[in-house]
Point group: C2
Chain length 286, copies 2
């Protein structure tokens, strides 16, 4: 698919939005515009030629954009689409980048104009820093990009989002229902973050702990540096799934604890061997 006739607008020029702008240049679209609440960010992005033009007011870019990519937090994604519904260009493809899908799509679809197409998307990329300064044209290189089509989405528009993802360097484009997306992501992303936070919070009274940490602690706590503004939203929008995953995990921890209490080395050995095998299987092609 050719993007050279398209005007693309990115909403929110932070880590993800900024990286989109940079990576989209390769696809050579007619214009890359951005909407942000911070004038200075837009000025810098324009000066660096990351975008062709920046706007504080969404009306002009939206009414001329064929593709709109929302790169703001879930609640803001919903609010932005609702508040600016009358400004989108007829036939525009709107896609988002939020880490939860069901509730977001559930809020947007009932109010979406019939001449617009909203395709849910979730690039599996990120890092611990935030803001345009942390953005990179290589952010999506080799990443997985999840698209969550629903009834009513036009096939050509679903494909367009996939083409953009591939064009930005993503390794795989994967299609899931919003429901399956939220279930899987609660396990593969949300639960590890909660675990990292819970581990780093333990035992804070040990002084000089840093002298005694090895790779296991460093790796298990890496994502304890977590965006405190974004993550409560992600968890609360995916409440049922994450609660269920936390409870599966609590059950596993409790089984190991019980085995230790009972000196059950046979159970522990089997559990550790199973875990080793599963880890190798699950991670082998990542």
């Amino acid at each position: 698919m050719d993007c050279t006739d398209f005007n693309i607008t990115i909403v929110g020029l932070g880590l993800i939005g900024g990286s989109f702008a940079m990576a989209l240049r390769k696809l050579n679209p007619k214009n890359i515009w951005a909407i942000d609440i911070d004038k200075e960010t837009l000025r810098v992005a324009q000066e660096m030629n990351i975008i062709d033009k920046g706007y504080l007011n969404p009306e002009i870019p939206l009414s001329n954009s064929d593709i709109v990519i929302l790169a703001v937090y879930p609640q803001k994604t919903i609010n932005f689409v609702k508040s600016n519904m009358s400004s989108f260009k007829s036939g525009a493809v709107i896609t988002d980048t939020a880490g939860i899908k069901s509730n977001l799509i559930h809020e947007i679809m009932p109010v979406l104009r019939k001449d617009l197409d909203f395709i849910g998307g979730h690039p599996m990329a990120g890092k611990e820093e935030s803001g345009l300064k942390a953005a990179s044209k290589d952010m999506f290189k080799n990443a997985n990009y999840i698209i969550t089509p629903i009834n009513g989405n036009k096939e050509e528009n679903i494909n367009l989002v996939g083409t953009i993802a591939k064009g930005m360097g993503c390794k795989r484009v994967v299609y899931l229902t919003p429901k399956d997306h939220d279930d899987i992501i609660s396990y593969t992303s949300q639960l590890p973050h909660i675990i990292a936070v819970s581990l780093i919070d333990c035992n804070s009274l040990i002084k000089g702990t840093s002298r005694f940490i090895g790779g296991s602690f460093r790796d298990t706590t890496r994502v304890a540096t977590i965006n405190g503004e974004l993550w409560p939203e992600l968890l609360l929008y995916n409440k049922e799934n994450i609660i269920s995953k936390i409870e599966d995990f609590e059950k596993n921890i409790k089984e190991i604890k019980t085995a230790i209490i009972n000196n059950d080395d046979v159970f522990l050995e089997k559990r550790f061997e199973d875990a080793t095998r599963k880890r190798k299987e699950i991670v082998k092609d990542v």
Copy 2:
């Protein structure tokens, strides 16, 4: 301190023992000998000049060694010292490499000959593979090495073990009581391993999960590839500490779960900000 007059024997020529043998060459000791139950391993090590000579029978090397380094699992460490008590050379320094210290030292000290000195040691190094083939002369490079002296250890012998650690490339030699060692290690090493195993065991029914995992899952589960023979021993020898750490962690997980159930985004945001700050503090100089 000069090691050129010393005969050093390594007991167990696996990942750790093999790496010791390789790294010790730099210190230029008179002889590096090894005791192992596997004839072929000894043959290979001798052929590769990793050791000067290998022995299946401990008597000859022990009776001529100034330094003995035990690189076998905790139970085997205890058994070996007890079974071979009459063979050690008078004045020998015996040190070990087990990941738990209190119970091991508690078992060894009452039966140790008065003319021997047992210095507990724990090199904070390792990898997911095992055996001599995975050993490396750089295994201890930049690692932390914990020594756990007790009343009765001679200062010169404590220093000798420290010198060896530094000579092998360790970044820091840290001194702790056996009790503090086991408390800290249950948090910084044992708990992360239990967490990784418990996470990988969740939700095994999701098919094709590997397409949806990002860095957080990959890092949090890295140490789920865990030695099923060694780890039950490590946990059961450190039972009280690890149970208490698991319970601290369970409490933290439960608080986050409760906050999600109650839509308490204020609690979550504060918890995530605290975790981010703590992670940065704890890991900054590692």
